[in-house]
Symmetry: C2
Subunit: 391 residues, 2 copies
């Protein structure tokens, strides 16, 4: 093969996703953009808060603003701002040297995995899970092992207990969750922390928890517990993609719990991994987010859409758990074959991603990062697809 | 170990570099910034051309400018702008689908290597070479194999002929070169192209050439030949770090020769690797560089510094090749032990990197991305260190 052997399969499945996107473009051209209802993409369409533009202009008009290299782990003052913010939120005693600024949450996760995981070790993740995790596991040469969740997508501690093996190096969780919208509660997380501690003792090997939290601030009427308060050996990572609607700008960070076993060494290794992969997080947007800790887009926009889509789909006979956070809904498909049901939706010009891609067959993922009008106008199509499937 | 086994050594050597930086900071505090002469960093200090600021302001004040995700390989219009520019420069028939926008040249190189190289295969690189190459080889699980150059740092075709093996997947070159400043000429590159073609036939396996060119536009009075005109199976990659002084913003690209074996598949695999590592190149600066193809900082600033440092060091008795490009000088050390000589320079408050780190022992690397005043004021120290060494 002209390309690396292991890339062949990955390129093939990526090309299927690309075909879906291209099909969406073709449909928009054929039917008109207003008549195609694309619920397939998690690309925030809510504009960044106005203060983002003000901050950008302020920085660009300031002759002292640099676009050059900084220390590879990020500007010290930005890392300090992140540590200070984390301390106001969860009082973990975070310090700047345990924070590494990264190229989005994807970059932070790659950093953390490269730092912690030996090739051949296992990363354990509750399914359904974000598709990108397969790729990040591939980058560090690890195996992604999935563990089932309860019917409401909350953690199944018994299943996790069974799934952890001597090869498990990292447990990876994502709450608020993509694709299910579930937010884990304090009790199940406390139990998870105790289980990870117990299993680390059993296997004589520290199991680290990585908490991937890009949707932390997109949560409705529920508290998103801090993993730092649950298990010391935790690395929290996130981005500003959703909370500031800056997904394309690629800025995020990871933060290592000060009480984690060998915390300083892990942060150093993650910073080195950062350097190896992309040198540093983008300079200008590091400076922007450094000045905007705690700022968030107006999540009432997402909440309203969530309520609209939930109401509409319930009336059309869909079964689902009302999401507590993120901007995804993960309804059951009325027929077992989710790919086939996505096909029925496509006949109604509705684009949805089959759940099998997320390790959740028998479901579809709907992103409600779309205009309200699209939700309203798509509902008759959702209803007809349901009726067709039930015939 | 708390961190992945293979990271241990890498973190250790990175911590040595960090110690050097910290020593620099400590020295600046002790002696005053004006009395410490730091030639260790390749961080462009020439400001970006004014049109960069204008373009940034134009984009930020345009309500239509997006900070969201775009196709992972980059904005189609930006990829087209790069292809158009390449065609004006070397008429290779480049198309937008063979261009992948990346997180700097480091990201582009990681993309290309991940796309092409199987774990255990070899990447062949002429020494001295940029230190980061070791890390990028590690990311894709390949072996970095070095091949010696001639005394003037030009390619030694005989040595390359001997060094290529059945495991060689990629030949990686960097011209203008970091750390030597050498620019390969058309004749030696033509011979390299012929040799790679011959060896690909011998081993029945295509050897690809990767040309890492972030310093292409920083060249003095010499033509930097296009590798696209030399060998079809070439991937060119670069960044805007040096030519627009945007090193911290992390934007660059790779471009696959349209005549390369399986060109389209390589570009697809590189785009997927992009996605796996960092999703996409930063949105705002992609749009900036898309509008600024062909723009470059004033290289006369670098040329003047080159002439100053060359003149001064020659008068102080240093031996070196006058660099044709980039902003580095790689003089011989008067004693064999380059680390020891770097120590003598440090006694004069001069920071230089020992050549051994670049696979070029018996040399030091000096970056002249520094103020003219630093060059002038450092010269007595350079002279004293030379005299001490010769005693």
């Amino acid at each position: 093969m002209p390309i690396a052997d292991k890339m062949v399969g990955i390129v093939k499945s990526a090309s299927m996703i690309r075909k879906m996107f291209e099909e969406g473009i073709r449909m928009r051209e054929q039917f008109g953009a207003d008549n195609v209802f694309d619920f397939s993409l998690g690309n925030p369409d809510v504009p960044p808060p106005p203060v983002v533009k003000e901050t950008l202009l302020g920085l660009i008009n300031d002759a002292a603003t640099s676009h050059g290299y900084m220390p590879n782990a990020g500007y010290p003052w930005v890392r300090q701002a992140v540590a200070d913010y984390l301390n106001t939120q969860c009082g973990v005693g975070m310090t700047a040297d345990l924070v590494v600024m990264s190229v989005g949450a994807a970059g932070a996760l790659n950093d953390a995995l490269k730092a912690l995981v030996n090739p051949g070790e296992e990363i354990l993740v509750p399914a359904p899970y974000f598709v990108g995790y397969n790729q990040y596991a591939f980058i560090c040469g690890a195996n992604l092992k999935t563990v089932s969740t309860k019917p409401d997508f909350h953690l199944d501690l018994g299943a996790i207990d069974d799934a952890i093996s001597k090869d498990t190096r990292v447990m990876l969780i994502n709450s608020p969750n993509n694709p299910t919208g579930v937010v884990y509660n304090k009790q199940e997380l406390d139990e998870l922390g105790q289980l990870l501690e117990k299993k680390s003792q059993v296997f004589g090997k520290r199991i680290y928890l990585i908490s991937d939290e890009p949707y932390r601030k997109i949560a409705y009427d529920v508290n998103v517990p801090w993993m730092f308060g649950v298990y010391d050996h935790t690395i929290v990572l996130t981005s500003y993609s959703k909370e500031l609607s800056l997904a394309g700008e690629r800025v995020g960070y990871l933060a290592v719990h000060p009480g984690a076993e060998d915390a300083a060494m892990i942060a150093s290794a993650a910073a080195v991994a950062n350097t190896m992969m992309f040198v540093n997080a983008p300079a200008l947007f590091q400076q922007v987010v450094g000045k905007l800790q705690g700022v968030c887009v107006d999540i009432d926009i997402y909440r309203k859409r969530r309520d609209m889509i939930c109401e509409g789909l319930a009336a059309a006979g869909y079964e689902f758990n009302v999401p507590d956070g993120a901007f995804y809904l993960f309804p059951k498909t009325p027929i077992e074959n989710d790919v086939e049901f996505a096909g029925l939706l496509k006949e109604e010009n509705i684009l949805a991603v089959p759940g099998s891609g997320f390790g959740g067959p028998g479901h579809i993922r709907l992103s409600y990062a779309v205009r309200e009008q699209s939700i309203t106008n798509a509902m008759p199509g959702f209803k007809r697809a349901m009726e067709k499937a039930q015939k």
